[in-house]
């Protein structure tokens, strides 16, 4: 009986201890994200609209974003870097608009992306969202290369 209650106390005490450390570290990480690794001021209405489009269309169930999501379609966390042009910030927006219009390709044997019928405003927002995500400072600059 003695040892069981000891085991129980270790469980409750230890779990609480680790939970407190975890909450402390995530609070610090929260600050780090807001102030250091991401461009908080850069979250414009366009970026917000883009994130909403990203969620409304359930993009994450085919694509990954920063490595998380489904593994059916390419990584999009760095798509603005992969498909953009450093010297022409609007090039990626134009590329994405053309890309979204061309879907689905209906090419035989190729994975298909649906036609989402996005408005000009929505495509632009989505592009700005991807550009914003692409600027997040990740540890060791993950992903390893442009392929994502």
């Amino acid at each position: 009986m003695q040892t069981k209650s000891a085991a129980r106390n270790i469980f409750y005490g230890g779990s609480l201890f680790f939970l407190i450390i975890f909450f402390g570290l995530t609070a610090q990480s929260h600050n780090f994200i807001v102030n250091k690794s991401t461009d908080s001021a850069g979250i414009t209405d366009k970026v917000r609209l883009g994130k909403k489009v990203w969620e409304d269309k359930a993009c994450v169930n085919c694509h990954t974003i920063m490595g998380e999501g489904a593994y059916f379609a390419p990584e999009l966390g760095n798509v603005a870097i992969r498909r953009g042009d450093k010297d022409d910030p609007k090039a990626f927006n134009e590329f994405l608009a053309e890309w979204m219009k061309a879907m689905p390709t209906k090419a035989e044997g190729r994975r298909q992306m649906p036609q989402f019928n996005l408005s000009d405003e929505e495509v632009d927002g989505l592009a700005e969202f991807f550009k914003w995500v692409g600027k997040i400072k990740t540890t060791d600059n993950w992903p390893p290369n442009e392929a994502g």
Partner: protein, 453 residues
């Protein structure tokens, strides 16, 4: 079955099994689309198929946990469930919510609507009204179960089970917080996803396993309960800070690479402890329980969880490895064996154990049940190997050589064909399991040993 209200579990497991059938069907369909990508591409795009696959899984596992609780708690507390009406009511609420979510996904109803549209964050896609319904149902469930525990005997098994279920509900609440900042969004999203499957769900799993082993082996309760506290201590001590392995590359501070690597490596230990626990109990107990299939599932669960969640998790958890493998098919391999080994198997073990009591019969058709175990376990193991190889090749071509994603995927075709084969066999195994549970005919092996509840 000593208490009338334990019968509630039957309704929960019936719905859970129907969703299990839906889950594996859409899994098979998704696997087929990987091979033949034009199939249904405009009628039912891959993202919808995947949502149905993953959401059906999550809901049926939770229904299984709730059903298990409704069976275990009366026996542990030595008292009837506080209110069977609440129990059936919250089940109906969850079924309505699930159907609502399915209809929303398939027919894309109210897209973009704050309350009725789908919310495209992985696994938490349920429309807001469904999420709120889930919270109401969870509160009703916790109230019902907690009241039952409070009025009866308090045991370690019911304590840990209750704590796990409360944790499940509490961490779900973080799913309502959706910051505009994607990095923050991800950090809190893991509060739900990681602290569920590598945290509080392990409490639920350990307590269900403990209950089963207590009943199946006849080992002294004191021994079982001491093991339970040791196992769940190891789970949370490693698992809580183990969340760090999801904080490597999402804009979180660099120290997580160390914390995550160290603590998530330790996450293997509780799963190994569960293997030791289940085998030691069966060995020491020496009770010849007639429900051999339930013993097989309980042992199989701990072994498959050890490999799926433990070993396959460790495989890509060190940050030096994860830098290259993060978000490849390696993750898919781990996910499949981990969920099947830990949470699917513990539920199937529970159904196998309780169905003779719920249906008031001998453990009929348990040979068929055991056959289904080996079919599901081996096909899932094969799928895991195939996806692991696919993931290793993908990692090299894409992450090391920097080849284009789609070009790499074309080179993985053979693996996806084999995965579809493994998936087909798995579905067959799942159907055989359901048949053996729900369509009993005659006993195939002798059950001279005394049945003991």
């Amino acid at each position: 079955m000593k208490y009338q209200s334990q019968k509630i579990a039957l309704a929960y497991f019936a719905v859970a099994m129907a969703l299990f059938a839906i889950q594996v069907s859409f899994g098979l369909l998704g696997g087929f689309v990987y091979m033949a990508p034009n199939f249904l591409s405009e009628l039912l795009p891959f993202n919808i198929i995947r949502m149905l696959h993953s959401n059906a899984l999550i809901v049926w596992l939770i229904l299984g946990f709730m059903g298990s609780a409704y069976y275990i708690i009366p026996e542990e507390s030595e008292s009837e469930i506080y209110s069977p009406k609440i129990a059936y009511g919250q089940l109906i609420l969850l079924v309505v919510g699930t159907l609502g979510a399915v209809v929303t996904y398939v027919f894309n109803i109210a897209e973009g609507n704050f309350l009725f549209g789908l919310k495209g964050r992985e696994f938490l896609e349920q429309p807001l009204w469904v999420k709120l319904g889930i919270v109401v149902a969870a509160l009703a469930f916790l109230y019902n179960i907690t009241m039952t525990v409070l009025k009866g005997r308090k045991t370690a098994i019911s304590n840990v089970l209750l704590l796990g279920l409360w944790g499940l509900a509490i961490f779900f609440l973080f799913g309502f917080y959706v910051p505009d900042n994607l990095a923050l969004d991800k950090m809190y999203w893991w509060y739900v996803v990681h602290l569920w499957v590598e945290g509080v769900w392990e409490l639920i799993m350990a307590s269900i396993l403990a209950f089963l082993l207590l009943k199946l082996t006849g080992v002294d309760r004191e021994v079982v309960e001491k093991w339970v506290y040791v196992i769940v201590s190891l789970s949370l001590f490693s698992g809580i800070l183990g969340t760090g392995h999801h904080y490597y590359w999402i804009g979180t501070p660099g120290y997580w690479t160390w914390i995550g690597s160290i603590f998530s490596s330790l996450e293997v230990i509780p799963f190994f402890a569960m293997v030791l626990f289940s085998f030691t109990m069966v060995w020491k107990g020496g009770r010849d329980h007639p429900n051999k299939a339930a013993v097989l599932w309980a042992l199989g669960c701990s072994v498959l969880a050890f490999f799926g969640a433990g070993v396959w998790g460790f495989l890509h958890t060190l940050h030096g490895v994860n830098y290259y493998t993060h978000g490849t098919q390696v993750t898919a391999a781990h996910g499949h064996l981990a969920f099947f080994g830990a949470y699917v198997s513990v539920n199937l073990a529970m159904i196998t154990y309780i169905s003779p009591y719920l249906f008031k019969r001998e453990p009929y058709n348990q040979v068929l049940n055991m056959v289904s175990f080996w079919i599901m376990a081996s096909s899932m193991a094969f799928m895991t190997f195939v996806l692991t190889f696919a993931g290793v090749v993908q990692t090299h071509l894409q992450r090391v050589n920097g080849e284009d994603f789609m070009a790499v995927q074309d080179q993985l075709h053979l693996f996806y064909v084999m995965r579809f084969g493994a998936g087909s066999v798995f579905v067959l195994g799942a159907l055989i399991f359901m048949y053996s549970i729900f369509v009993p005919r005659k006993e195939l092996i002798s059950t001279e040993a005394q049945a003991a509840e």
